[in-house]
């Protein structure tokens, strides 16, 4: 319309002159007619001509006037149209700004945890816009902000619920693992029971890993905390402990470093997930190779499997999962067959500065490399490995009797020492029978049995002596009791033997076990 209007405006200057032409032509024709006709007809013809000329002049004048009016009108329309067009463009731009800038920014700020009121206040509009239009936009923004806030709240509470449940499972699993470890020590001599305990222990560790994964995806830390540095070897074997097929993992060279306490658990968990992927997606008869070598920026842990490998596309997708999950992943978009592993690894890697990459392996499978930054590494903690060999020499006097070094053994270990003692008596029994009896002879000898037998049983002694009487009758213990009573009678110590007389029975009942 603008285009059609513009040419008509171009004709405009010519038009008033054009309208003079018809009256002029009519006047000329009239003059010619008057000259041409006979004398007698000249007057009527002249009249007619004059009237016609006047009429044409009139019409031409009117036409020209209307033409001018139309032109003015058209110009006004064009102006109006341009104004509307500008307004529309502004509003269009504003709507685009709402869609492309304001809303995403508002959502992002809400997700960062800013309050809805703050976000709304800061979303300012230009003043010259139509107030109605601005109000409508504000309303849109408010609706969206409200919806986002509601959704965020829902997600938060869902995540908190997930984390909470995971924490409870973790607590139970942790307790269970501790109990199992104690049981493993207690039943360490029976290979059948021990094997079954190991089996249950393994299953428990798998449950623990799943709970850890859920906690991590819910934005929490994985379960345990280590207050002391953990050696890399322990970290790797800790990761192996938590996967199903740990027996397929070959542990190769391991750098002599340790991981600081706070980073140990996330690292163990991330490595466990990578190892799980490696063992899960490779044939059961193949091995998975695990090694940790020092590199310039820290330590690189490599996990290589002999599986099918990943196509370039699959690899890109996996790495995308790794990077995207570090930006934050929803529990809701995990889908029905959740592949938690890489998402968890990505999360932990982002939080603790591990770099993870997946590459084709020399074994045709996948080679996952995780680079652990130097700032979470430290030197190997001495306590666990060094002091024990250091304390070794003292108990050396082993040669003839295995019973002799035992007092030395009690210092470093209490629980296994008890386990050991329960087994030992078979050999020592006869010695023990002779000695306590002799002790009774003189009170001065009493400290000695305390020196030999007490370290093992000294803490639970009161409980033992309480249990013993009930266990006494029917036990093949009588000889000792009889002898003790007999000798107590000989020595004439009536009240004192009551204590010692009971203790030998304790010893023997203990040994009888």
């Amino acid at each position: 319309m603008v285009r059609t209007g513009t040419p008509s405006a171009g004709h405009q200057p010519a038009s008033p002159l054009v309208w003079i032409l018809p009256p002029v032509v009519t006047a000329a024709c009239t003059v010619a007619a008057v000259v041409a006709v006979v004398q007698t007809a000249r007057v009527p013809v002249a009249w007619c001509g004059a009237v016609a000329t006047a009429a044409v002049l009139l019409i031409a004048g009117e036409t020209a006037r209307r033409g001018r009016a139309i032109t003015a009108l058209r110009r006004r329309h064009a102006d109006q149209e341009a104004g509307l067009r500008r307004l529309m463009a502004e509003q269009e731009a504003e709507t685009a700004r709402l869609a492309e800038v304001l809303l995403p920014e508002a959502v992002a700020r809400l997700q960062r945890g800013e309050s809805a009121a703050e976000v709304l206040k800061s979303a300012a509009y230009e003043a010259e816009l139509d107030p109605g239009f601005s109000a409508a936009h504000q309303a849109v923004l408010r609706t969206v902000v409200d919806a986002v806030v509601a959704e965020e709240d829902l997600r938060d509470s869902a995540q908190r619920a997930f984390v909470n449940i995971a924490r409870r499972v973790q607590a139970i699993v942790h307790q269970q693992a501790q109990d199992l470890r104690e049981m493993e020590h207690r039943h360490g001599e029976d290979p059948e029971v021990f094997g079954d305990l190991l089996h249950i222990d393994h299953g428990t560790a798998l449950i623990g890993r799943l709970a850890d994964s859920i906690a991590v995806l819910g934005g929490a830390r994985p379960g345990r905390q280590w207050s002391q540095p953990v050696s890399m070897f322990s970290v790797l074997r800790g990761a192996m402990s938590r996967i199903l097929d740990y027996q397929r993992v070959d542990l190769h060279s391991v750098a002599e470093v340790a991981v600081v306490g706070p980073a140990a658990e996330p690292l163990i968990h991330a490595l466990a997930e990578l190892l799980d992927n490696a063992t899960r997606y490779s044939p059961p008869q193949t091995r998975v190779h695990l090694s940790a070598t020092e590199v310039q920026s820290g330590v690189a842990v490599e996990i290589e499997d002999g599986g099918l490998g990943m196509g370039e596309e699959a690899r890109e997708r996996a790495e995308q999962v790794l990077t995207r999950s570090s930006a934050g992943i929803d529990l809701t978009d995990l889908g029905e067959t959740p592949r938690l592993g890489l998402a968890v690894v990505g999360r932990l890697a982002q939080a603790y500065g591990f770099q993870v990459s997946l590459r084709p392996s020399a074994y045709a499978g996948v080679r996952a490399v995780m680079v652990i930054p130097g700032n979470v590494l430290t030197s190997v903690p001495p306590p666990r490995a060094v002091p024990r060999p250091g304390t070794m020499p003292p108990p050396r006097p082993m040669p003839t009797r295995p019973a002799q070094p035992r007092p030395g053994a009690q210092a470093p270990a209490t629980v296994p020492a008890v386990a050991e003692r329960q087994e030992q008596p078979a050999a020592v029994e006869h010695n023990a029978y002779g000695l306590p009896q002799r002790r009774r002879r003189g009170p001065a000898a009493v400290p000695r049995p305390g020196g030999v037998a007490a370290p093992a049983s000294s803490p639970p002694a009161p409980a033992r002596s309480a249990q013993a009487p009930s266990a006494d009758p029917g036990r093949p213990v009588q000889p000792g009791i009889w002898l003790a009573a007999f000798q107590a009678g000989i020595n004439g110590e009536t009240p004192a033997p009551a204590g010692p007389a009971r203790r030998p029975s304790d010893d023997s009942s203990e040994e009888g076990k």
């Binding site: 001599e189 345990r224 040669p399």
Partner: protein
């Protein structure tokens, strides 16, 4: 347990089954007993697991299986599995637990006991 009541640092993160490779009994090593004496036949090497290194190091002088178990704070079955590996690799040697020592002892003690009772 060794951490003296600190529940966060009771043990390492590795579980027992990883240390023993999932085995609970030493295959073909029935002669390992609680009182079998173990002596190292080689020096520890860098690539060995810490438990193997510790056993080889502590068995520089003969130690019984029970003692190794106590020092390592590992159950006897687990120690037997580790020892079986070391024995198979020829890194340690197992010796019968001096059987001659026990028998005369019993007789002697019985003799002493009877003698005392006759007093």
């Amino acid at each position: 347990m060794s951490g003296a009541g600190e529940e966060t640092t009771d043990d390492g993160p590795e579980r027992m089954y990883v240390i023993t490779g999932g085995r609970s009994k030493a295959g073909g090593q029935d002669r390992l007993d609680l009182v079998t004496l173990v002596v190292a036949r080689s020096q520890p090497e860098p690539g060995m697991p810490p438990e193997h290194t510790a056993i080889v190091r502590m068995c520089h002088y003969p130690l019984s299986v029970a003692e190794i178990s106590a020092y390592l704070e590992l159950p006897v079955s687990a120690v037997k599995v580790l020892l079986a590996d070391l024995l198979a690799g020829g890194r340690v040697e197992a010796r019968a637990p001096v059987p001659a020592a026990s028998l005369p002892d019993i007789e002697l003690l019985e003799a002493v006991m009877h003698g005392l009772q006759k007093l």
